[in-house]
């Protein structure tokens, strides 16, 4: 099993195969399964992602009412032709928001790498697929490439907000998406690693401070920014820009920062945005006063 991005990139480069293929081969080996089975499993995950976005674009609201329908607002805004950022980026933003709105509403999603960060990878994928003329196979490969980078992060750092802050969730997802966009656009494995490094560097220090302890505010909007960030990072790598700090060292830095972060900022809803007067008011509105034991 590959342990670092360096090893992953080296294997792909030496053998002249894409990163997605390295991931598929490893999965076949670990699972003692067939290539067909492994690819089929990923296809089903892709279908879940498509269903979630479709549901979001019809309009969805969470149980608490804190989040929902922003994907619809963004899609309408894109159609108005007045947008500043560019349709492709905003399409990724809309679909990333949408996936997370479905998640917040306890709908069915595919964690990538987590549920709180489940919008970034599919959001960017569904946004770039037409521009890059991706067929079904390329879309599935996108998920394997994302997965390969997430695999390294999960084993060397963390993909849990409680352990490493939101940088471990949306940050990891952003890097994963950036790396996958590069491969889908025809970039090299090295450029995928660069895109990952650039994307994650811009998410370092991101705290996990969910309002009322819910995966809603600010999670949904952070997925939007992760999607936009991923596309910019991918474009930077494809432009030939490099990262001064190697990808694996960025991952180590993320891990170190996560360990130094106070518990109040790691999914406990004790600090940050969760501790603002408005957040506390929302929390009381939703849950009433906190009880310690409930039956």
């Amino acid at each position: 099993m590959f342990k670092s991005v360096e090893e992953l990139v080296r294997t792909a480069t030496e053998r002249g195969i894409p990163i997605s293929e390295v991931m598929i081969e490893q999965e076949v080996h670990v699972r003692r399964s067939t290539r067909e089975d492994v690819v089929g499993m990923m296809e089903r995950n892709l279908e879940v992602m498509e269903e979630a976005v479709a549901r979001a674009l019809e309009g969805v609201t969470s149980v608490t009412g804190l989040t929902g329908n922003d994907a619809v607002l963004m899609t309408d805004y894109i159609r108005s032709g007045k947008s500043l950022a560019g349709d492709l980026i905003l399409d990724a933003v809309a679909k990333a928001i949408g996936t997370n709105e479905v998640n917040a509403a306890m709908g069915r999603i595919c964690a990538t790498p987590t549920a709180g960060s489940a919008g970034v990878v599919p959001g960017t994928l569904f946004a770039v697929k037409e521009r890059l003329k991706m067929d079904r196979d390329a879309m599935v490969r996108y998920l394997f490439t994302s997965g390969a980078f997430g695999f390294v992060v999960a084993n060397n750092a963390s993909i849990s907000g409680a352990a490493g802050g939101c940088q471990a969730e949306v940050g990891s997802a952003t890097g994963m998406a950036a790396a996958a966009i590069v491969e889908a656009a025809g970039g090299t494995p090295e450029q995928s690693a660069t895109a990952f490094a650039i994307a994650l560097k811009n998410m370092l220090g991101l705290v996990c401070d969910p309002v009322a302890g819910l995966v809603e505010v600010p999670c949904v909007k952070r997925n939007a920014m992760g999607g936009a960030n991923a596309i910019v990072a991918a474009d930077m790598a494809l432009a030939g820009i490099t990262s001064r700090i190697p990808c694996d060292e960025v991952i180590s830095a993320m891990h170190e920062i996560g360990q130094m972060m106070p518990t109040a900022l790691k999914e406990t809803a004790r600090g940050g945005l969760a501790n603002t007067p408005t957040a506390r008011r929302l929390e009381r509105n939703i849950f009433g006063e906190k009880e310690n034991v409930e039956k």
Partner: protein
Amino acid sequence: MKYRSVFDIIGPVMVGPSSSHTAGAARIGLMAGKLFGRTPLLAHITFYGSFADTYRGHGTDVAIVGGIMGFDTFDLRIPQALDIAKERGIEVVFETSDALTDHPNTARVRLEDEDGTFEIVGISIGGGTIEITELNGFPLKLSGGGPALVVLHHDRFGAIAAVTGILARHELNIGHMEVSRHEKGKQALMAIEIDDHLSKDVLAEIERLPQIERVAIFGE
């Protein structure tokens, strides 16, 4: 390597909103329910760390109870799990604890009925992946290096040999093994890490052994 599969990263397919707090919790509940092997009358759940702080907002409560009833991470009945538990006659008690644990997402699940009690401690390490750290008071140390067979059995002469004999006959290699017991002649635990996939037949064969109480597979 804690994570071995790409589907731990791109996946699981699950009901939102949190992979570690909802999907991970469902899996801890599933493991507890599977090992208890029947519908409990009481499910007593203690949340620690981040679980204790935010379990209601993350659906950790409904997910863990859904898991106990056998609902998988993607089961759309999870949001209604507390109502369904009530209909099935399961009393559910939640407790939070300030006790320090090794991992911020820790839950203790105790299941009870007239015939007995079963307790596990699980941690949710991120992305829906879990580890079981304690089983009926036995600390469980699995390296995560491969699938592990966990066997609760009566501490009797030949019980360990019978299990390892079956593994040997099926040409399954043991990578690491731990045995523990609270006191002589009472309940004991075997945790066996194997290099290969374990088929349902082998599992059933072990389960049929006279000294065996319960068998489960982790990490597959």
